[in-house]
Structure formats: structure tokens, C-alpha cells
């Protein structure tokens, strides 16, 4: 059997619903509908953007709200040449693009944003900027409602203007999806096990005293290295079973101890094994046509004759 590396490519898609809360809700409403930029102030007069309940500069609760900007100043900058696939959108950003730390005039903190300038000789710390908004009907209530910042010609920077606490009722909720691609590299024992399954054979790891462990693994549960392998099964004893009524088709799952193994393995129960209980004898049914090594090379376990 080959022992070439085995890399299994997978992707997890994470979906969330984030409550914006009492501070981001009024900020994003004002940004989206009026193009206004709101911040919270602390006891020392720092205007903190994003707005927040506690000042990290004083470690005390913030005391009120101000409106800042929308004019801004460049605090730090770069021109990005590395290809970047935005995992939020799946879209590759065209390079090069300008990017930097931007401070709304009157604010005490920066945000990161895109800069409409790719000639870095034209960028410098302290450069006056202004935001370029998307049309109101295209805004979604996030920082991308500002398309980018561009260099501003003249005009006095506006100071922070105190405002009454904005309405935070009817709080916003944001749905978000992130694609997280990853690869799982199998170890030597896992490679032997998965490639064995593809040939309809079940491989156990074996210790120096002849104890077997299924699925095959590099180390015993107590941490000892497991140097050898041995073919076992495909019969075993059901140790525990359940029917997942909350899943489509109410599939049954069991913990099966393959004959001779110290450890049980988790798999599906089928062909009448769904109603079996602990102590019943079962056997693996191998599936045909699997594209890559996987535990799905076992279709399920069925009652053993």
C-alpha cells in the first residue's frame, strides 16, 4: 500500500447573526441615512470611534456622544500589492490599492479604510482626506458605505460637536458568512486506516502487548506510541446507539467496538441496525465509488449474521 502524504481539502462556512448593540446601532443608522459620523467621549474628552461603552484610555465608562468629521486625516498608509481574496465576499480585490489608518477630524482614534491613491509618493502622514460615500440607496449600514477616502483640497477640519445621546431602539442585527478553507493532513496511522477502508479492509494500530486500537492512530489513549498495524473486523459489538430524530431522515448512530479493539468508533447504523441496542453484533458495509479516502468508505454498520 502506498504511503504518500494524504491531504484532505475541506471548507467550513461559518454563519453568524451579530447584534450590533447600543453603540453601533445609532452609528450605522446615522452613517447610512445621513452620512454623519458619531463617536462617544470619555471623561478626559477623548472622542472614541467606534463608539463604545468604556474608554480604553481611562478605563472608565464613556460619558456622552459627539459628531466628528466627515473630513479626516491620514494617520498611516500603505499600498497593497499582495493579492487578497476577501473572505467576506469571495471577491479578489484588484491590486494595487491604497489602504490606511484614517482619523476623522475631531476623533481621538483611527479606523482602517481604503484610500483612493496607489502612488505612495503622494501619501504622507497628516494628509487631509474626505470620505466618498456610496449613493444612499446602495448603503447597507456598514463601513463599506464609505467607498474610500480621497485627498481633500483645503477646507478647515471640523472639531467634534457634542450631540444628545442618539436613539438606540430597534437595534440592528447583521448576518455574516465567512468561508474558511482548510486542509487536513493525515498522520501515518490515519493514512493506513483510510486507505485500507478504500480497499474494504479495516486497519488497527497495535501496541507491544498486542492490544488493538480502531480507528488506527499514532498514540494510545494514555499517550504511548503505537508502532504497528494489523487488519481487523469488519465485525464488532455495538456499545451505544442513538437515533437523531432532530436530523433529516432520523439517522441512527452507534459506537461500535470492532472485534479485538480497545476503543470504539463512531458510525452510522443501517439495514435494520437502527433498532439494535448495546451488545448487538454488527458488521461494516463498505461503500463503492468514494472519490477520496474517508470514513465514508464505510456506508454504515448492519446487523451481523
Amino acid at each position: 500500500m502506498t504511503d504518500e502524504p494524504l491531504r484532505l481539502e475541506r471548507q467550513i462556512t461559518l454563519r453568524y447573526r451579530f447584534a450590533a448593540g447600543r453603540f453601533a446601532t445609532p452609528f450605522f443608522r446615522a452613517l447610512r441615512s445621513e452620512g454623519r459620523v458619531l463617536a462617544t467621549v470619555d471623561a478626559d474628552g477623548n472622542a472614541l470611534l467606534p463608539p463604545r461603552p468604556v474608554s480604553g484610555l481611562t478605563n472608565t465608562p464613556t460619558t456622552g456622544w459627539v459628531e466628528v468629521g466627515p473630513t479626516a486625516t491620514l494617520s498611516g498608509y500603505t499600498v497593497v500589492h499582495v493579492p487578497f481574496i476577501d473572505p467576506m465576499t469571495g471577491v479578489r480585490r484588484p491590486v494595487p490599492y491604497g489602504f490606511g489608518l484614517v482619523r476623522f477630524d475631531g476623533a481621538s482614534t483611527n479606523i482602517y479604510h481604503l484610500i483612493d491613491e496607489t502612488d505612495r509618493a503622494k501619501l504622507r502622514v497628516g494628509l487631509p482626506l474626505e470620505p466618498v460615500f456610496k449613493p444612499v440607496e446602495e448603503r447597507q449600514g456598514n463601513l463599506a458605505d464609505i467607498r474610500f477616502f480621497r485627498v481633500r483640497d483645503g477646507g478647515e477640519p471640523a472639531p467634534a460637536r457634542p450631540i444628545p445621546p442618539p436613539d438606540a431602539s430597534d437595534p440592528l442585527v447583521y448576518e455574516q458568512k465567512i468561508d474558511l478553507p482548510y486542509v487536513y493532513t493525515a498522520g501515518a496511522a490515519q493514512r493506513a486506516f483510510l486507505r485500507g477502508l478504500a480497499e474494504g479492509r479495516m486497519i488497527a494500530s497495535v501496541d507491544g502487548d498486542g492490544r488493538r486500537y480502531v480507528p488506527a492512530r499514532g498514540h494510545a489513549p494514555d499517550g504511548r506510541p503505537l508502532p504497528g498495524t494489523e487488519e481487523v473486523g469488519p465485525r464488532g459489538i455495538l456499545e451505544a446507539a442513538t437515533v437523531a430524530h432532530h436530523l433529516p431522515g432520523a439517522p441512527a448512530f452507534g459506537l461500535i467496538r470492532i472485534d479485538g479493539s480497545e476503543t470504539p468508533m463512531l458510525h452510522r447504523l443501517g439495514e435494520g441496525a437502527q433498532r439494535l441496542g448495546p451488545g448487538a453484533a454488527v458488521e461494516a458495509v463498505f461503500a463503492a465509488g468514494q472519490e477520496e479516502p474517508s470514513v465514508n468508505a464505510i456506508a454504515h454498520f448492519r446487523p451481523a449474521p
Partner: protein
């Protein structure tokens, strides 16, 4: 009265771009075996394990559950930490506190990452605030480069200064069998000719992505002298945070609030008045050349704005007064979950006189740091003298 704590052994894998022969647990186990072999301690004699890793890089949530047996931790306390890039050093700080409190006597700290298995860009995006940062992030390099520009503006360091750091790291790496990026013939000109990734950061200014693991065995004073001839005693183990949004710390690299706070507290604990004169070697977490120069300043190894002169004068070269990163540093190997623990391990090996070809002569006191994207900093000070 708190117990004294020491590092008694350290082990690491050879860090490379892709380890295709082992899974994550087996990779970590390699470092564990090398560490325990150095101490002559059986796995069963370890009281507790602290594991550091950034889960999103491999897409394996709760790796402590997956790896418990392989780490010899089944039936024992196994604590999983994630503090970003700092996490490896965080395991050592946490172990110090537990050992000092007398909760355990022997703790194994383990850090690992297999960058070849994940998508760095997607994983880094999950670190950003969902509403405020994810929609406008530019990946780790874009964010870092913006910070570096602030430091360049403040300090006047040049790209030649940065290139000298790149050369120092990759040449030092040639003496370290574990290092990933060994470039014996690299020159300043090579660095300046390498691709611009994001101004001012060029390809050779940046750390690689590595697969690797590190393990460090720490013990309280009852056991330390029995497990090592010359333990590396912990004189300070400090962690500090910054504010919560990426744009909050205004000067970013130029004035790293968390590193300044953690280092000053550590110097006070270790009774160090002049770090440049009193430290013999430093292993710092420099994700890029510009960060190393800024960290010289934030750590108080030179005056503000003096980072460029420090590298010009060769102070931090292997034969300088205060060698920084004899191992080759993060610029030469970066398996993130292990990286800060490698700094601690290397500082300990220097203190113990076990650093092989990269050993600095006469090390009595060593500094190690961890860096978590400006959000966290960890500072440890180790010494051959029992406190």
C-alpha cells in the same frame, strides 16, 4: 510566599513550509518528546499541560480534545489558550502563575501551528471585529504595513535599516537547525530588490508561514534543580493588553502601549534598571523587520527614534553587546501558535547554555517577548540566578 519557577527543558520541531507526513497532534508530539527527553522526564510525570494554538488556522475547534492522548494529557488538567500570536508566551506566563501558586509542580507548555493546512487570510479576518473591521480589512500584511508607515514617519528609519534586520535574521538562522528560512548569502541589496508586498514592507522584510511546534517544561523550585543542571529561572512573566479596536492605539508600532507596559513591569520585577546593559540576549517576536526596530525602542533597549542606529552600530548582531534573535527569529520561522513559545524556549536555552551553535557567550539574563498584533504583549525575563 509564591514558589520560585524555572524552565528546565525545551524541544521543538524543525520548522518547514509543509509537514505532509504528520497530522497536527503528531507534529506537537515531536516537540513534546524532544523536550521531555532533554529533562529525562516521563510523560506520566507531567502534572498538567497548557496548549497554545490559533484554531482558525487549521479549522479544528477545541484541538485540546483532539490531541489530549497524543500529548499524554488524558486524565490530567489540559488548558487550551488562544491569545493570537502571543499565545505561546501566554502558556509560559500561565504556567508560571500556576507553579508559583503551588497548584502544580511540573507543567508542559505546548504551542503548534500548521499554516500549510489553512487559509491565513480567512482566519485573520475572523480576528477582526465583525461590524467594524472585517469589511475593510486588508489581511495581516496590509494592516501591518499601515502601522509600519507610522513608525517610519515617526522615527525616520530607512528601508536599508529594515533590510539589515532581514539579513541578520536569515544569517543567524543558519546556525539554528530548527529554523525554516536559512539564507547564508543574503545581502541588503537582495532585500531591497525583493517584491514590494505593501509599502514599506517587502517580501524579505516579512516572516514566512511555517509548520512547527515547540514544547517547554516548567517546574517549581522543588523539582527544578533535579530536572536541569542550570535551570532558567523566571524573574518576570508579564502580560498586557491594548484597547480593543485596531485603530485605537494611535502610533501603533511606534508606541506599542502593551509592550511598553509589559516590559516596564517586567524590568521592575527583575530589578533591571538599564535593560540594554543588564540583558545578555533577547529573543523577540518580530513579525517583520520594521517591528524589530520599533521594538528596540518600545522595549527601552535604545532611546526613542534610535532603532535605526541600533542596527547600524551592530549592537544586536551575534557579536554585538546585546544579540537579538540568535535563533533567526520570527523572520526565519513562524508557526504562529508556537512562535512566542519558541522565543521563550530560545531565551531559556541561551540561559541554560544549551543553544548549540547559536549560543551567545556568558548569558546570565535573557529576555523573551510575544506579540499579538499589537493587542497583546508578553515579556519574560529569565536568569541563571535563582531569584
Amino acid at each position: 510566599m509564591a514558589r520560585r519557577v524555572a524552565i528546565v527543558a525545551a524541544g521543538q520541531t524543525d520548522h518547514v513550509s509543509r509537514r505532509l507526513d504528520v497530522n497536527v497532534a503528531e507534529l506537537a508530539r515531536e516537540a513534546v518528546d524532544r523536550c521531555l527527553e532533554q529533562a529525562g522526564l516521563a510523560m506520566a510525570e507531567v502534572d498538567a499541560v497548557i496548549l497554545g494554538n490559533m484554531e482558525m488556522f487549521e479549522g479544528i475547534n477545541m484541538p485540546d480534545q483532539w490531541m489530549a492522548s497524543t500529548l499524554g494529557a488524558a486524565g490530567k488538567p489540559l488548558f487550551k489558550l488562544n491569545t493570537g500570536g502571543t499565545v505561546g508566551a501566554s502558556t509560559a506566563v500561565a504556567a508560571t502563575q500556576m507553579l508559583a501558586a503551588g497548584t502544580f509542580r511540573r507543567i508542559l507548555c505546548v504551542g503548534y501551528e500548521k499554516h500549510s493546512e489553512g487559509s491565513v487570510q480567512s482566519a485573520i479576518t475572523t480576528v477582526g471585529d465583525p461590524l467594524w473591521e472585517r469589511s475593510v480589512m486588508a489581511g495581516a500584511i496590509g494592516n501591518f504595513a499601515s502601522m509600519a508607515s507610522v513608525y517610519v514617519d515617526e522615527s525616520g528609519v530607512t528601508e536599508e535599516h529594515a533590510a539589515k534586520v532581514a539579513v541578520k535574521a536569515r544569517r543567524n538562522a543558519c546556525r539554528n537547525p530548527h529554523s525554516h528560512l536559512k539564507l547564508p548569502d543574503i545581502t541588503v541589496e537582495d532585500v531591497l530588490a525583493s517584491d514590494m508586498l505593501a509599502y514599506p514592507v517587502r517580501k524579505l522584510d516579512m516572516c514566512p508561514s511555517s509548520d512547527g511546534a515547540c514544547a517547554v517544561l516548567m517546574a517549581s523550585e522543588e523539582d527544578a534543580t533535579g530536572l536541569a543542571e542550570r535551570p532558567a529561572w523566571v524573574h518576570a512573566a508579564v502580560t498586557a493588553h491594548d484597547q480593543q479596536f485596531m485603530g485605537d492605539s494611535l502610533k501603533r508600532l511606534a508606541e506599542m502601549r502593551s509592550l511598553i507596559a509589559a516590559s516596564r513591569k517586567a524590568y521592575a520585577q527583575a530589578a533591571i534598571g538599564s535593560p540594554r546593559a543588564e540583558l545578555d540576549v533577547a529573543e523577540i517576536y518580530e513579525p517583520a523587520t520594521y517591528a524589530e526596530l520599533a521594538m528596540y525602542e518600545c522595549l527601552g533597549l535604545c532611546e526613542k527614534g534610535g532603532g535605526g542606529r541600533m542596527i547600524d552600530e551592530g549592537v544586536t548582531e551575534m557579536d554585538g553587546a546585546l544579540p537579538v534573535n540568535p535563533s533567526g527569529g520570527v523572520l526565519s520561522a513562524n508557526p504562529v501558535g508556537a512562535t512566542a513559545l519558541i522565543r521563550v524556549a530560545e531565551a531559556a536555552l541561551q540561559t541554560m547554555g544549551r543553544a548549540g551553535e547559536r549560543q551567545v557567550d556568558g548569558v546570565e539574563r535573557a529576555l523573551a517577548t510575544g506579540y499579538g498584533g499589537n493587542a497583546w504583549s508578553e515579556v519574560l525575563i529569565l536568569s541563571a540566578d535563582r531569584p
